[in-house]
């Protein structure tokens, strides 16, 4: 687990710029004029594992307060692309990134950028629920708060409650906050991880196939949750399930690995359009089930 493996990922220790314009709180109280604002812009992102190119030259804009889905057959680089959006790709051994990701006008791979700050602002939920086994439900949700100068017990308790409510888990666990997080069911664990991710109030939440380990009922709950969360947060979700993308997302990006074995962005459209009227033959082949 070494960081700063990429040439683009500038040494996190080299400088530390903390401009006061970067506030931690997310833009609460959204107004409609802001709805079409671009939250995150990936520019010419390429990603490698060692010498192997996994994602090639992807550029896309992610709208604020919406759900954006990345779909495509397995091995198309959609998860890798997602992990490039909050500098998590560089923690995988030999992971390397090139390109820029613009968050609020600044490149998260820029020289003054600190990956720990980036990840506080762009949270992540993983494929398999990964609560900390030695921590209680409460401690799990509060895990990221210790990086945020949050000292007072009541403040933390309030934030834990708010996050669990936002993750639609509060009613199920409010009497068991001291119980280990691992005691919950799979679907509950995943919502716990979502609560943990939003407790630090990120601007963007990345979800890497968050329902692939869940049963249909739990999946429905998490999907509902995504819609609700999109009011406050910007959501990017990777899914291998086209119906899910169709159900939850506002815009959908289709990725495909070609002859070279690396993933490329084929098409990026509002979800309705992509599924009803794709422009690219390969997209149509995929959504009609002709391959993949």
């Amino acid at each position: 687990m070494t960081e700063s493996a990429s040439p683009a990922a500038v040494d996190e220790r080299s400088s530390f710029d903390f401009s006061p314009t970067r506030t931690v709180a997310s833009p609460v109280g959204v107004n409609n004029a802001e709805a079409k604002r671009v939250a995150l812009r990936a520019e010419h992102i390429s990603a490698w594992y060692g010498q192997k190119l996994a994602v090639s030259d992807v550029t896309l804009d992610i709208d604020a307060h919406s759900v954006t889905a990345l779909i495509g057959p397995s091995g198309c680089g959609k998860s890798t692309l997602l992990r490039c959006l909050n500098r998590m790709h560089e923690v995988t051994p030999k992971g390397r990134v090139q390109g820029r990701v613009i968050l609020e006008g600044e490149d998260i791979y820029g020289p003054g950028s600190d990956p720990t700050r980036v990840r506080q602002r762009i949270g992540m939920v993983f494929q398999k629920p990964n609560p900390f086994p030695t921590m209680s439900i409460e401690e799990n949700v509060a895990a990221g708060l210790r990086f945020m100068n949050m000292r007072s017990k009541s403040e933390i308790a309030d934030r834990v409650e708010a996050s669990l409510k936002a993750a639609a888990l509060w009613d199920e666990v409010k009497n068991d906050l001291k119980k280990p997080g691992m005691a919950l069911s799979g679907g509950q664990q995943q919502r716990l991880c979502i609560a943990r991710a939003i407790a630090v109030e990120p601007e963007v939440v990345l979800m890497d196939e968050p329902c692939s380990a869940l049963d249909p009922l739990a999946t429905l709950k998490v999907e509902d949750l995504m819609r609700t969360l999109a009011v406050k947060y910007t959501i990017v979700i990777v899914t291998h399930n086209m119906q899910q993308a169709a159900r939850v997302s506002d815009r959908t990006a289709f990725m495909l690995a070609g002859e070279g074995g690396y993933g490329e962005l084929i098409e990026y459209l509002p979800t309705d359009e992509l599924f009803t009227n794709p422009q690219d033959q390969r997209t149509e082949d995929y959504i009609t089930g002709r391959f993949g």
């Binding site: 070494t2 998590m88 990840r119 993983f126 990964n130 030695t134 895990a143």
Partner: protein, 326 residues
């Protein structure tokens, strides 16, 4: 494995008549005999030591464990001083070695690139291959001098000002020399187990905390160490067992005197070193039986420590191999 191979095999086996059945049974019997041999060794080890120590056990009674009076010429035998010596040397070495070994293991797994971690890992493991007597030799003629001239005075002039236990006359051989040698000797044991259990912490745990904005050290402290702690504890206890049973290196550097040390530089004895040092020149049967009783005590202590350590390590690395191939 046995169950899965049986699945495909049973039908064909039932077709075959008794002859092959017999051969397979014989096969199981012969290898089983070898296995039973191991049980016999462990059982025999206890039986023989109890038998030889019996005269001393009946003569000395329970006071053997806490009496610190050991006077073979007068037939007075109390192993208290050796127990204290063993506890002091091995617990001190354990604390020092665990602190270093866990940090090294974290460095190897979490920080170092593989071109650094592989040779460093190999070198630390080589430490475990150096024979005990060579440590002893080095301990007397190199380390002892360093302790007397440099490390000892450093301690007396710092810690010694506040803690009487560190305020004494540095010597070549004594408690401190034994502690330092033991620390070096058990670092590889603790390091190897810690490294394996730390490497066994799922990457998803690290990612979970990294995605919340943790630094590398926070990742270690919040996600890695809590997950690996019982395995690390098991490794440390294995190191303790090794320290408690370590004989010749300690015998050469501990100074060999029957007394509870008043300062960290005083000579003393451990259970293992008093056996190594006195058994050949034992003054008659009662002295020999008393040393056998010390050996029995040592055996029981290390047996218990081993059982606890194995259970801990097994619980954590369940299903993992105890032989590591990279």
């Amino acid at each position: 494995m046995a169950s899965t191979t049986d699945l495909g095999h049973r039908p064909s086996r039932s077709v075959l008549v008794g002859g092959l059945h017999l051969a397979d049974r014989l096969f199981k019997g012969v290898t089983g005999f070898a296995a039973v041999f191991v049980v016999l060794i462990v059982g025999g080890l206890f039986y023989q030591l109890i038998w030889r120590a019996w005269p001393a056990i009946t003569a000395n009674g329970f006071s053997f464990i806490w009496s610190t009076d050991w006077n073979p010429s007068q037939g007075i035998f109390g192993a208290g001083a050796f127990l204290v010596g063993t506890a002091l040397t091995s617990v001190a070495a354990l604390i020092l070695a665990t602190a270093v070994a866990v940090l090294v293991a974290l460095y190897l797994v979490e920080v170092a690139p593989s071109r650094v971690s592989r040779p460093v890992s190999y070198m630390v493991e080589l430490l475990a291959a150096i024979p005990s007597v060579v440590y002893g030799l080095w301990g007397i003629y190199v380390l002892g001098g360093f302790i007397q001239s440099t490390l000892g005075p450093m301690l007396t002039h710092t810690l010694g000002l506040f803690i009487p236990f560190f305020d004494g006359t540095p010597r070549v051989t004594g408690l401190l020399s034994a502690i330092v040698v033991l620390t070096i000797m058990i670092i590889p044991t603790v390091m190897a187990v810690s490294r394996d259990v730390i490497a066994a912490v799922p990457g998803s745990q690290r990612e979970a905390i990294l995605a919340l904005g943790a630094t590398r050290w926070e990742t270690i402290r919040i996600a890695v160490l809590p997950y690996a702690r019982s395995g690390i504890l098991g490794g440390a206890i294995l190191g303790l067992a090794r320290a408690v049973g370590e004989t010749l290196a300690v015998t050469l550097v501990i100074g060999n005197r029957v007394s509870i040390p008043h300062t960290i530089f005083d000579p003393t004895y451990t259970m293992a070193s008093v056996i190594a040092n006195q058994f050949q020149e034992a003054e008659g049967a009662t002295h020999r039986a008393a040393l056998m009783e010390v050996a029995l005590l040592l055996l029981c202590v290390t047996f218990l420590i081993n059982v606890v350590a194995r259970l801990l390590v097994w619980r954590v690395t369940k299903g993992q191999r105890s032989v590591v191939i990279e």
